[in-house]
């Protein structure tokens, strides 16, 4: 319990800052807040800014370019819409990359025993599945002399999906047996 509260507090602060950030529309305030977050990163400024820009860029670029095309005859209005919007997205993405790595999700969301338990199991499985997915992709690339076509991609996708779903069933059974053996279900009845 003592270990959990700093993570919960940090998550609450993050959520409060996100809510506040979505309600600010003044470009100067948004710019100032983004600068404060950037400067707070100390020596990690470059990495923070790079990660935030890379994460938000595809969506932001598509929306901004699209809006510039739609509002090409009213560039003043386009600027009044896009400048605060892009600054707000930048500020909120910077906040996410600045604060979230410091939060242990299992601790922060541990107010529900079931939720915490599911999160621990799911996170461990997600990390394993992600690694296995990369292995499968590399295996396909290594065995393909030419560019992978639609049919090959669909077959590979289907085989990968089936493998993950079969593995999921197997892992669920294994986990249940392990939990039963450790008396988890006795504690919860």
């Amino acid at each position: 319990m003592r270990r959990a509260w700093p993570h919960r507090l940090l998550l609450l602060i993050y959520l409060a800052l996100v809510v506040a950030g979505t309600m600010i529309h003044d470009p100067l305030v948004l710019c100032g807040a983004a600068l404060v977050v950037i400067l707070s990163a100390g020596t990690g400024v470059g990495s923070l800014v790079k990660r935030a820009i890379l994460a938000a860029l595809p969506f932001v670029l598509a929306v901004s370019l699209g809006y510039l095309v739609v509002a090409r005859h009213q560039l003043d209005q386009a600027g009044a819409v896009l400048v605060p919007l892009n600054l707000r997205v930048l500020l909120l993405t910077l906040l996410a990359f600045r604060i979230l790595p410091r939060i242990n999700l299992q601790q922060a969301l541990g107010f529900s025993r079931t939720l915490r338990f599911v999160l621990i199991l799911a996170t461990s499985q997600v990390l394993t599945f992600r690694r296995l997915f990369t292995d499968f992709q590399q295996a396909l690339a290594a065995r393909s002399a030419r560019r992978i076509g639609l049919l090959a991609a669909l077959r590979h996708g289907a085989a990968t999906s089936a493998w993950f779903l079969a593995r999921a069933e197997h892992d669920a059974t294994e986990m249940t047996q392990a939990l039963e053996a450790r008396g988890y279900f006795l504690d919860h009845t």
Binding site: P84, L132, I148, S161, A162
Partner: protein, 212 residues
Amino acid sequence: MHIPDGFISPVVYGPAFGLAGVLWTAGLRKLQRALDPAAIPRLAVATASAFALMLISVPLPGGTTVHVSGVGMIAVLFGVWHGFLALSLVFLLQALMFGDGGITAFPVNALAVGLCGSLAAVTVFRLLKNRRLAPALFCAGWMGTVVPAVLVALVLGAQPLLGQAADGRPLYFPFGWEITMPAVVIPHLLVGIADGVLTVLAWRILASKETH
């Protein structure tokens, strides 16, 4: 859908968090009360499966690739509640652990993709499965992608109406339905086909493994 923070107005994400919160609580209570001891491990592995399925990409003409959603597959195999909770957990992990999409888009995604996508997929599957299995699976995969796309397009297109300055300029996502509906829904009609084909093929592979 990987929508960063800042595009969705508090008028939308606030109530969405409230509604999703009620449904998450109901879903978790349902799991706790379930007599099946595998309910919780099953949710965890359904989450991991949903996460893994969302990594699978299919090439499109023109050199681009699209990611399938796997919503139909997860919902048909695990049911609506497990699908909703598993996909919600995926979006939570993506937003808070991997930086994919914002926390303000999380409840919208959970409701549109997790709940409505799963519900549409399972409903269509149940209606069609007694006639022929393959079309039922294909339609479940397709609906699990297209229904959430329509809902997300509706939510995004409503932003200029719900969040605007005194002079009428949009404060959040700036495009209305006339742009979001074709821009979001048309690509997902194609992604839905890939999702449908994948659902059928994956089901066949699983079925052939079970018979051996």
